[in-house]
């Protein structure tokens, strides 16, 4: 038989067998295991195993629908177990229940193999009341005595294999009042496969779809939420351990993949988790919708859109007190946010966040912002960093950057703040702080740093404004410059192209190309001033307030201020400042200009008792106030002040060149070099300002020139060197030149302090040495000093006119030891003048000045007293030796009036005169006080032709000769009030002796008696010359002095006259220096 036939026959046999098998199955299904037979059987069996009421519609055996295995199909299966409070009496209700049970495995190997269990269109209502009673505890209690458990888990089946379990359109309701938990699942479609070996279940669960609501403890966590789940899992039942393989789940449209383990640790009453997950991108609103209602208030008003994704891991224990560790990574894109409390919508939000926490341990919890950025309509900003200690004192360490258009944020500024901001701010800022630090403003504990750029920035706060076109501000808090030991709190670097600040209608400051570095200690510490180091450099600074303006060009410097530090434990301010040019003005009348100025200041202990050191140097300085101008080159000033608060002591040094001071239109002081050092001590116990400030030091000045409208000539000061202290001014050297005069002054001015205290006179003792002194110039120069000019006209008319008398100072005692080689007095010249000039307590005395003129050698004493303004004393004592009579008359024309005959003589004579009078305030003599006495004595004189002499000679029958010699002349005259009395004096002319006497009045009338005592003629002739020069009457009279030359014959009157003459002369000669 061929193989082909063999196969044919075998095939036919198998077909017959198959037919017979199908026929047998069909007969079994349709005729043996009919529903009518199976249903009662199942109902009977169910009653054995189910304690609650059950309803089973129909049970039939299936084969073809469960091919290739037999299965049972139950329709209208219902379990009814009413319990109080349950959502329904029905525990289970399903239209169709199909299941395949491998009966052989169960029977032969004690294995439960369930295949293709299908549950469709059903309802499951599970309920646990508050006492723990459930409606699903429907199995009868086991009445067999329980043997001691020798195994850990004894299952009724050695092996359970569940394949293709499907739930379709199942509604599941679970209420657990003990947990206050409610779950409601609708449209549940589940596929389940699993194998249970021992107590280990390996399963695959696929929840295709369901709509789930879930609430716990009254909080609805899910509400009609679409849930999907596809999970491969291993369950160890005894341990209540679930190990998820690669699983997927979705909540609404949020889908995620996950894997890991979950274990219910009954021993420790906790759940152990270790789940990793990764979501697909999902709409953020969907996630927000999952926020429980009680937390919805946190996002009230928030309209957040965008997409997000998340991955992460949840691991650790979950219990009442412990939460598992969550390591969640969230990425957000295309975010848009509108929030009622924030007037600007945010768009293009991107974020990358990590949340790491077990919600319990603060030390491991953090929220890290890997990156976040967002845009407003016109601005953008972003941040990154970490936020931790979320459950205690939140710590933020964020680096933020922004590019802000500030006008956008104007609506965010409270209207009552009266603030407007415009411009752009761009930059990056790093902040690191605890919230407690922020709340308490513990700035020294926080960290801020960054760099900000301001463009077209303009801010107005109330009346204060600031604007800049471009500025950068770099700052670091604490100070990034760790080398700075005193100001670690803040460092800031400001670089501004232009910066303007001020107040509206008030002050204004404008900075150009400013660079400022500022470092400071804690400015929030109110117990002390902050330590500050600041350096600055500007191209220019312009500031103004009202009419005051300051312009600085290239100012730069350093300022350091610190407190209670250093070797002396003292606070201190150090300043180094310089500028190329400075101009300051106030109104149109005050102006200061300064070039190349440098200022160094060192102030120590400024909070208690400041010690101040200041050094200033400037190449040019010019100051103007009204018509007053001060200019100075290379000026240097240094000052050192100690004990400022108690008894200030100041060391002051000043040096400069080309000092030029203009005072008014016509007064000026110019000094080519000046140097002054001084020590100034303050005594606050003194009331007088001069006594409060004690000054000592020295002054060195060269080549000065003083010009004044009050002075007819400029005063040149070639040099002045002077030491001074509170009690004594010691002028070592001073040289002055005034027109033709030059002199040096040296000496001491003492008792200054005592004088101020009014304890004693101010004493001066000076030497006045001059090669040439023009007295009239000096008189014109000093005339009127101390007085007030009555008006400009009188001042112009005469430089020596005073509206009021010069009052000699009281309380002073000055002596001027003069030595002048040549004195110019008008056209007269005096030489070799020596003597003292003294001013003492209201009295001015020129004491015994000796000098030589072309006319004679002279001695002069002058006295000027001012007891009161309208009663001024002027007196002089004047002695001329060997003076030419004609020059005497020329020097003192009044003599010609008093003794007209004197001009008839030629030759030398000695002349002594003393006189005094009191003057009124206009220097008019008070006639009642005029006193004077004079004596003249001449030898070998000649008589010149003269009109008066001719008349006398004619009357007395003299022989008229051109020149006649006389032996001598000696006369005295006095002045009393308006009376000038010429005492009888004798003129010897060859063989004539003539005695002349008489009175001359101030009204120029006179009454003379001329007696010819001896002559060739045999009798004496006496005449009386009376009247005035215009009305002269000469007549012979009785000889009054005929015996004047004969002592034995003198009459009483003549003796008296001679006695008085002697008295006059001796009193005058008493003052003549030998």
């Amino acid at each position: 038989m061929s193989k082909k036939k063999v196969f044919k026959r075998v095939g036919i046999a198998l077909a017959i067998l198959l037919f017979l098998l199908i026929t047998a199955i069909s007969i079994a299904i349709w005729f043996v295991f009919t529903p009518e037979r199976l249903t009662p059987f199942v109902r009977k069996q169910a009653a054995k195993y189910i304690t609650c009421k059950s309803e089973i519609g129909e049970v039939e055996l299936t084969f073809f629908s469960t091919f290739p295995r037999f299965g049972l199909k139950v329709t209208d299966f219902t379990l009814i177990n009413p319990i109080a409070g349950a959502q329904s009496d029905t525990l289970v209700n399903t239209q169709n229940l199909i299941g395949i049970v491998d009966v052989g495995a169960w029977w032969k190997r004690d294995e439960l193999v369930i295949t293709n269990l299908q549950l469709s269109n059903g309802v499951i209502n599970a309920f646990v009341d508050s006492l723990g009673n459930t409606n699903f505890n429907i199995t009868p209690p086991d009445t067999i005595p329980v043997q001691p458990d020798t195994t850990q888990s004894e299952m009724p089946f050695r092996f359970i294999d569940i394949k293709n379990v499907e739930l379709n359109n199942i509604s599941l309701s679970y209420i657990d009042n003990t947990q206050k938990m409610l779950a409601d699942i609708k449209d549940l479609a589940v596929k389940f496969n699993g194998k249970l070996v021992s107590d280990t279940l390996n399963m695959h669960l696929n929840v295709n779809d369901c709509v789930m609501s879930f609430s716990y403890n009254g909080e609805a966590y899910l509400k009609n939420t679409s849930i999907k789940l596809n999970s491969q899992a291993k369950v160890i039942i005894s341990k209540m351990f679930v190990e998820f393989g690669e699983s997927e789940a979705s909540i609404n449209d949020i889908s995620l993949a996950f894997r890991g383990t979950v274990e219910n640790d009954a021993v420790n009453n906790r759940i152990n988790t270790n789940i990793t997950y990764k979501s697909n991108t999902f709409p953020i609103p969907s996630a927000l919708a999952l926020i429980p209602p009680s937390f919805q208030s946190y996002i009230e008003g928030v309209d957040l859109k965008g997409i997000a994704s998340s991955d992460g891991r949840v691991s650790g224990f979950y219990s009442d007190s412990v939460m598992p560790l969550m390591d969640l990574h969230i990425i957000m894109n295309e975010g848009e946010l509108k929030y009622a409390g924030f007037p600007l919508p945010l768009s293009n939000m991107k974020g990358d966040f990590v949340f790491y926490s077990d919600l319990t341990h603060d030390d491991i919890t953090y929220f890290r912002i890997n990156q976040f950025s967002a845009n407003t309509p016109q601005s953008s900003f972003g941040t990154s960093g970490i936020v931790n200690h979320l459950f205690s004192d939140i710590y933020c360490d964020l680096t933020s950057n922004a590019n802000l258009k500030l006008s956008e944020f104007a609506p965010m500024i409270p209207s009552d703040l009266k603030m407007k901001v415009n411009g752009n701010v761009k930059g990056q800022v790093r902040t690191a702080f605890f919230m407690s630090q922020m709340e308490k403003m513990l700035l020294d504990k926080m960290r801020f740093s960054g760099s900000v750029t301001l463009s077209n920035f303009d801010v107005i706060y109330d009346s204060i404004y600031m604007k800049t076109d471009y500025s950068t501000v770099d700052f670091s808090m604490p100070n990034a410059n760790t080398s700075n030991k005193i100001s670690r709190f803040l460092s800031s670097k400001i670089n501004s192209k232009t910066l303007e600040a001020g107040t509206i209608n008030g002050y204004r400051a404008f900075l150009k190309n400013a660079l400022v570095n500022l470092e400071t200690s804690n400015v929030m510490d109110t117990t002390k001033l902050p330590d500050v180091t600041c350096s600055f450099s500007l191209d220019s600074l312009a500031a103004s307030m009202d009419t005051m303006k300051v312009d600085l060009f290239k100012p730069s410097g350093n300022l350091t201020m610190y407190s209670l530090k250093g070797s002396n434990k003292q606070d201190r301010i150090l300043l180094n400042y310089s500028n190329d040019k400075m101009e300051a003005s106030m109104g149109s009348n005050m102006l200061v200009k300064m070039n190349k100025a440098k200022l160094n200041a060192d102030v120590t202990n400024f909070m208690a008792s400041p010690n101040i050191k200041i050094d200033y140097a400037g190449s040019n300085l010019a100051m103007q106030m009204d018509t007053n101008i001060i200019k100075m080159d290379e000026g240097r000033v240094s000052a050192d002040v100690v004990d400022y608060d108690t008894k200030p002591k100041i060391k002051f040094a000043y040096a400069g060149s080309n000092l030029d001071m203009q005072i008014g239109q016509s007064n000026s002081v110019k000094v080519s070099k000046i140097k002054m050092n001084s020590d100034i001590a303050n005594d606050p116990t003194q009331k007088d300002i001069f006594l409060q400030w004690m000054v000592k030091g020295f002054l060195d000045m060269e080549n000065g020139v003083i010009s004044s409208s009050m002075l007819n000539e400029s005063i040149e000061i070639p040099s002045v060197k002077m030491d001074f202290d509170p009690q004594v001014f010691n002028i070592k050297e001073s040289k002055l030149k005034i027109d033709k005069s030059d002199f040096s002054l040296a000496g001491t001015l003492s008792n200054i302090q005592s004088f101020i205290k009014k304890d004693s006179l101010l004493r001066g003792n000076f030497s006045f040495i001059s090669n040439q002194t023009d007295v009239l110039k000096l008189m014109n120069l000093t005339s009127g000093l101390g007085g007030e000019p009555s008006d400009s006209i009188s001042q112009t008319a005469s430089d020596t006119t005073l509206s009021s008398a010069y009052m000699v100072p009281k309380g002073i005692d000055f002596i001027l030891h003069t030595s002048v080689k040549k004195v110019l007095f008008g056209n007269e010249i005096a030489k070799d003048i020596t003597g003292d000039v003294r001013v003492k307590d209201g009295i001015l005395v020129l004491d015994d000045l000796l000098f030589t003129t072309p006319a004679s050698k002279m001695q002069l004493t002058l006295m000027y007293k001012t007891p009161r303004k309208n009663h001024i004393y002027a007196g002089f004592d004047y002695h001329m030796f060997d003076i030419e009579i004609d020059k005497l008359i020329k020097m003192m024309p009044i003599i010609d009036s008093i003794m007209p005959m004197l001009k008839s003589f030629k030759g030398t004579a000695e002349f002594h005169i003393a006189a005094e009078t009191y003057l009124d305030s206009m220097y008019n003599p008070k006639k009642s006080t005029i006193r004077g006495a004079s004596s003249i004595k001449g030898h070998n004189l000649v008589v010149m032709d003269g009109q008066t002499f001719s008349e006398i000679a004619k009357t007395m029958k003299f022989t008229k000769k051109a020149e006649n010699k006389v032996d001598s002349i000696s006369a005295e005259f006095t002045v009393f009030k308006n009376e000038i009395d010429i005492y009888p004096f004798m003129v010897v002319l060859d063989k004539y002796k003539v005695v002349i006497a008489g009175r001359h009045n101030m009204d120029m009338s006179f009454d003379y008696n001329i007696s010819l005592l001896e002559s060739p003629i045999p009798f004496r002739i006496c005449v009386e010359a009376k009247g005035t020069m215009d009305n002269l009457k000469i007549r012979p009279i009785k000889c009054k002095y005929r015996d004047l030359n004969r002592p034995s014959s003198r009459m009483v009157l003549q003796n008296k006259q001679l006695e008085l003459r002697k008295l006059i002369r001796e009193s005058l000669l008493k003052n003549v220096k030998k």
Partner: protein
Amino acid sequence: MKRIIICLFACLSIALIFNSCSKDEESFDESLLVGRWQSGTLYEKYFENHTGATWDTSDDVTEAEAQEFTWTLDKSDLTQIHIIEIGGNVPKYYTVTALTSTTLKYKDDFGVSHTFTKIGK
């Protein structure tokens, strides 16, 4: 000769006439002079120690500012030595014509006279 005698006689007579005996000088008690005297605005005061002072209120001079002098009264010769403070003396020589407890009159050689009334000591 007779003419000569007559001439000589005439000359003698003339001489006698011109050289007649002078009138006896009047003498005053200087104690009467001590005190303060006023003549209009002019004041003089004489002290017993022969010092004195004078001032004229028309020139705005007060008694305290009076200028000093020394004085002597010899019979009718009143001599005032006015003292120049800076040095020097100005003698004034007067002839007293009347001196009572209330009145003082004197004149100088040039006929200038003054009349004072005593106003106190």
